[in-house]
């Protein structure tokens, strides 16, 4: 749908206002991380520091073991991205391309799990992991991602696999390829765009995950970045009593947690948006 020139020019001022509203909090977060104490507590508040100071970015590493938080987060994210992408692709391929009894019913159950509140499974799953002595390790955050990688991802990939022409496997079978070859060497490469969407989605979900770490991790050496940030929050239960942290340091830590997801999102946004378009287009 193309717009007439007039409405287009009316849209720009609104778009600009919107952009300021949505960006402002993030800009202020970064700006505040560069403020000295005088600037932080100015009344009325200021947007940009009068003097830019980067000392918060030097200090936070010694205030809390941020390096260890980041290392833990990277481990969880890397494993989860592999786990979610590979296992959801396997399942999606099965549902899309292979015929077996009860297929429709099982797929229906998979979709229904999306509607189950996590409150219901939270306690028994916690009990399970604590019996395995997995609390305060990264295992509870990693292992479940290898079991299907989430109903939404299976749903999304299934649509892609189902869209591949049937002649492809026929031709491959004639050439002597077995099922695994067809899946791994033919179907997977063809679904790269969708797989990228799943991988990026699980990167962002895992990087941002707060509830999982909050449930399973109580020792600081196993903290992820999200939980480490939470523990920094003044007066938060679960956090040590940290009164010495300044707002600039807090905002610097937040900026560090935000920048990787924002960067990934910027590079991937085209793919993500078209991925959503595909998945919602199906329902109509």
């Amino acid at each position: 749908m193309h717009d007439s020139g007039k409405s287009a020019w009316l849209a720009y001022p609104l778009l600009l206002v919107g952009a300021v509203v949505f960006l402002f909090p993030l800009v202020w977060m970064v700006a505040r991380s560069f403020m000295g104490l005088d600037d932080l507590y100015k009344v009325p508040p200021i947007v940009f520091p009068t003097k830019w100071e980067a000392s918060a970015y030097d200090d936070i590493w010694t205030i809390r073991p941020f390096l260890s938080y980041i290392r833990n987060t990277v481990i969880v994210v890397a494993c989860s991205v592999v786990g979610a992408t590979v296992s959801s692709a396997l399942c999606a391929y099965g549902f899309a391309r292979l015929k077996f009894p009860l297929r429709g019913l099982i797929f229906g159950v998979v979709l229904a799990t999306m509607m189950l509140p996590s409150a219901v499974t939270m306690i028994p799953v916690y009990v399970l992991f604590s019996k395995l002595h997995w609390t305060n390790t990264l295992m509870p955050l990693i292992v479940p991602t290898f079991f299907g990688g989430g109903a939404f991802n299976i749903f999304l990939l299934r649509q892609f696999f189902a869209g591949l022409p049937n002649d492809l496997d026929e031709a491959a079978k004639i050439d002597g390829a077995n099922l695994w070859d067809i899946f791994w060497r033919i179907a997977m490469p063809l679904c790269k765009p969708a797989l990228t969407v799943v991988a990026i989605g699980s990167f962002m979900n895992t990087w941002n995950d707060f509830m999982g770490p909050l449930l399973y991790l109580s020792k600081e050496k196993s903290f992820t970045l999200a939980l480490g940030l939470y523990a920094l929050s003044p007066g938060e239960a679960g956090g040590a009593t940290i009164n010495s942290i300044t707002t600039a340091q807090l905002m610097a830590a937040c900026s560090l947690a935000v920048i990787p997801v924002v960067l990934v999102f910027f590079f991937a946004q085209k793919k993500l948006i078209s991925g959503t378009a595909v998945s919602t287009g199906i329902k109509g």
Partner: protein, 296 residues
């Protein structure tokens, strides 16, 4: 008798889908059953669960804290779901055009959604700070008196809802996808027939987008009944339990006071409410959701 080929394909099918079937058995089906059992017990994880019959559910009906929590969760859901649908819709309307730079605007409008909840929570605590924040400056600029935001029980709900609207990009993106899924030929035909811009909007866009409204409503209700992260990262249920939403209450019962039996009962009540709400929306959907090309 099935051919050997079909049998082999079926075996392969089960193997390919085995991660998710195992996953559902381990992390969904069994826990759901366990949780139902726990809800009839006294359980603190250290000792074995002790059967108490319906005591937890009986306690729940007389628990003022639970009713308060249910009430604020319902209010939060009732306000924030329609509000963020509406804001997302307006954003999508604005962004659904082919203008120079529109891709960048879409990215910016969506950006808040990818911000980790703990970081956005801390950020909003700063924005809402009565003296050092910008929220009250904004009110002052338009001539309104300062507001108490997170610091008073009566202002905490609106504050959390407004904070949530910052992330309305999540629903915007689904609206956008919906708009773009509407076949162009429908509009072209309407233009040929002389339909006005408004008429095209009400007679084509709205009916064609009802499946998207439906999807957004269902996911929105399910999500906001379980509001948790943004509350823990800001008010942690306070002040004076004013933002002690159901999920926050369940978490505290289970993991702070170790009343896991009672927490399970609360979780089941939450589950039943979500189930009923979803069923209700599904039922009504037949009369207002329009599926192009017949039934879903």
């Amino acid at each position: 008798m099935k051919s050997r080929k079909a049998v082999r394909e079926a075996i392969a099918g089960y193997l390919f889908t085995s991660p998710v079937t195992l996953g559902i058995l381990l992390f969904t089906a069994w826990p759901v059953a366990q949780s139902l059992y726990y809800s009839f017990t006294k359980f603190n994880i250290i000792k074995k669960p002790q059967w108490v019959g319906g005591d937890n559910y009986a306690k729940l009906t007389g628990d003022a804290e639970f009713w308060h929590s249910l009430k604020i969760t319902a209010i939060f859901t009732g306000v924030s779901v329609p509000a963020s649908l509406l804001v997302g819709f307006l954003m999508a309307l604005l962004l659904n055009r082919s203008l120079r730079g529109i891709g960048l605007f879409r990215t910016i409008f969506y950006l808040p959604v990818v911000v980790p909840v703990v970081a956005s929570g801390m950020l909003w605590k700063q924005l809402y700070s009565p003296t050092y924040g910008f929220a009250n400056r904004l009110l002052e600029a338009v001539g309104l008196p300062p507001y108490t935001w997170f610091s008073q029980p009566e202002s905490v709900l609106p504050s959390i809802i407004i904070m949530g609207l910052w992330q309305a990009g999540g629903s915007m993106i689904i609206w956008l996808a919906g708009f773009q899924g509407i076949p162009v030929h429908l509009y072209e035909a309407a233009i040929v027939d002389g339909a006005s811009r408004m008429r095209r909007f009400w007679s084509i866009t709205i009916p064609m987008i009802t499946p998207v409204i439906f999807f957004n409503l269902i996911m929105g209700f399910i999500g906001s009944f379980q509001v948790f992260g943004q509350v823990m990262a800001t008010t942690a249920g306070g002040p004076l339990n004013a933002s002690n939403f159901l999920m926050v209450m369940i978490y505290k019962e289970a993991f702070r006071t170790l009343n896991m039996g009672y927490a399970s009962a609360l979780a089941w009540v939450l589950f039943v409410i979500v189930l009923l709400l979803t069923a209700f929306i599904f039922r009504t959907s037949r009369s207002w959701v329009h599926y192009e090309g017949g039934a879903k």
